[in-house]
Symmetry: C2
Subunit: 424 residues, 2 copies
């Protein structure tokens, strides 16, 4: 089929009739598929089943991991996770089962107490603003919204956030205290920040002395193809330019072992880590050390993790390729949609014609396929062009995924035709 | 030996010489005992070793506990923990490994967002005050101190906090937003609140509409003798008097299974729980469901938990009795110290003559026995009479415990003599 925009009204109407017939057929099947979140599938979870056989409870330091004690993780977990997150052992805190909680808690503490270098707690300021490269991760935006942090949309370019805009905003506005980054296989665009972007983020001048980069490196070892992308070490860049306290880095094993029962880690300068350890000793009794020990005994070392992640890739790569294949076949030459081809991570970012995303997601939902809500990839849930949809291919079984994507492509075409017909 | 106060100067000096000789002998042994925290001993931890054999990952609802999803706990955990905490299933949130974290997070959210019924977040008020029945739990006080919440000491009486004072303060001062309670086998006094105290707490008039009771029922099933004390259901009292949103209740399995890898639970009115669930969905991806499932499969039901707790009591009761025995033998008739005989919990609360506690703790530390710091049981670490010391008998082995208590009693006597000699 040709480009939709070049088709005349009658041809478009005829095409719509045919598409709608296919749509109704799918709808009558009363399907129930969930593609809303980046959830691993059962086969991926089974890759880590052996972890549940581990019954050790003594850490290498002799600590009984069953008992109280230890706020920043057991030594062998700090050792292994410092390698995953690419920092030194005294720059990491190994925590509980959620890096999102670590991020939320870091921001909550910044609001209540400030960070290293703050003159007053952020929550006492008249206004706090965060830069939000978008499309981005809805859970980051939800944290900002909860704390009343004003979000400023910054466009994502092919190699990361639009640094012209970032540099200008952080230089001129003291209220800009932070930026959210998913620097590797970004959510949802699958973009890995270029060395230049990392350099500029680490070295740029900021008006706020206590500006922070929230570096959510969730997909650091989550390659789909071969050795994957390389990301420059931002903590190192920050150190070299005298901005060592600027970055908070996070990652987890949520998509390495078990999403609900993984281990999260954060890294930052020694000064940052020292303050946070003090604050954590007020907040609780320390992370689940048994689960940390279980993870270390199972994951062993970086080579083994790389092998383990290859098994993940073998399961999910065919799903990504299937999505890309169906998108290409159904929409490839119609010039009504654009999407990325990521080297890793959990998503395919999909753009419709302006003003069609919400309609597409609603239509697919009516046919039994739940996608991530349109707009979710932008602050306040508002996509200014109403075009971005996040596709999460990992959870559904292959046959489900195929059907779901066919339905999706039908909906994209119908919504596009409806839009084009308005202009005819 | 007679009452110290009735001895003349010479007799006291002579006694001191003998005691100091014994002290020096112990000191030369270079002991290293830790009695600073209420930590279970290895034998207690071994009671739950079978929990590590549990490999189930499907919840009764069919949920794969390894994956994402669920913010308030898996159904069977909510079922069992609602019985432990004595609330209904829709009044509980089953969380991670620390009830202290749940308490901290509740207060952090109250400061940032307010609670049900708040007109503005507590953190936006010029002043927030909490009533702190003392002696009390140092980790509660540390949370207040971190958030700049002013702590007001309220005396503990034989059946709970001094309610005359509590009722007066909450009625006249709108800044009083909370009270910390460990209502059963209180930390450190081992007191269980009487029905009258529970009734008065639940029904009293408060000036602040969003006043909260932080009901840390940490030792609810932790009896030392038989069936243990009974505590009246405060949530029920609150409901009946139209104050259903007044209380946040907490407990955990930290001293049932593994302190570092247990499961915590909170309970409150449906309105409170509903708001908190919304807030938790911003903070993270939900608790470790595998650990919850492990706990349910291992603990099974309330009868089994009671049996399990009897095994704990069999291990730690002899330690409590040993401490009480040594205290009685060494100090019983000298009228220089007073202590409680708890029916449950983890501590013996010990009072010296006024002004002696710090000296006693310092002296025992010098002889290799680390006690909880003197003053720790009061807000800001300041015991106004410098007399309260928290004894935690559970962790040391029996022979260590005996030596430690002998050293402790020697130090109490020396410090008392030094005080009495000043007046001679």
């Amino acid at each position: 089929m040709a480009q939709f925009a070049k088709m005349d009204k009658k041809a478009l109407q005829q095409t719509r009739v045919e598409l709608f017939k296919r749509y109704e057929e799918y709808k009558s099947q009363k399907l129930k598929y969930d593609m809303s979140r980046g959830k691993p599938c059962k086969e991926q979870l089974d890759l880590s089943l052996d972890m549940m056989n581990i019954k050790d409870y003594k850490s290498s330091s002799g600590t009984d991991c069953r008992n109280y004690g230890g706020i920043d993780g057991i030594p062998e977990a700090k050792e292994l996770f410092s390698q995953i997150i690419e920092a030194s052992v005294d720059e990491v805190i190994v925590g509980g089962n959620s890096s999102l909680t670590m991020i939320y808690d870091t921001i909550a503490r910044a609001m209540s107490f400030g960070v290293v270098g703050s003159e007053i707690p952020w929550g006492k300021l008249p206004k706090v603003k965060f830069l939000c490269p978008s499309p981005g991760y809805d859970r980051h935006f939800a944290i900002c919204e909860a704390f009343g942090i004003e979000m400023i949309v910054v466009d994502m370019k092919a190699d990361g956030p639009d640094m012209e805009v970032v540099e200008k905003l952080v230089l001129e506005d003291e209220a800009v205290k932070g930026i959210f980054c998913v620097p590797k296989y970004s959510n949802p665009d699958g973009i890995t920040y270029s060395d230049e972007v990392v350099d500029r983020l680490g070295t740029m001048k900021t008006k706020a002395k206590d500006f922070r980069i929230f570096w959510d490196n969730a997909y650091t070892v989550h390659h789909l193809f071969g050795e994957g992308d390389k990301l420059k070490d931002i903590l190192e860049v920050c150190k070299k330019s005298g901005n060592e306290d600027r970055v908070f880095m996070y990652t987890s094993t949520s998509k390495v072992t078990f999403p609900g029962a993984g281990v999260a880690v954060m890294a930052a300068s020694k000064a940052n880590i020292s303050l946070i350890k003090k604050q954590l000793s007020i907040q609780g009794i320390g992370p689940d050390k048994l689960n940390q020990l279980r993870h270390v005994k199972f994951l062993k070392n970086m080579d083994n993790i790389a092998q383990h992640m290859k098994k993940h890739a073998e399961i999910i790569r065919p799903k990504f390729l299937t999505v890309l294949d169906i998108l290409h076949k159904e929409l490839g030459d119609k010039e009504i949609a654009w999407w990325n081809k990521p080297n890793g991570g959990y998503f395919i970012s999909f753009n419709t014609l302006d003003g069609c995303a919400k309609k597409v997601v609603d239509m697919t939902a009516e046919a039994g396929v739940v996608m991530t809500p349109a707009g979710a990839t932008f602050p306040y849930g508002k996509d200014p062009r109403d075009r971005n949809i996040r596709i999460a291919p990992t959870l559904p079984a292959m046959d489900e995924l195929k059907k779901a994507m066919e339905i999706f492509c039908i909906c994209v075409q119908i919504a596009s035709i409806d839009k084009l017909l308005l202009d005819k």
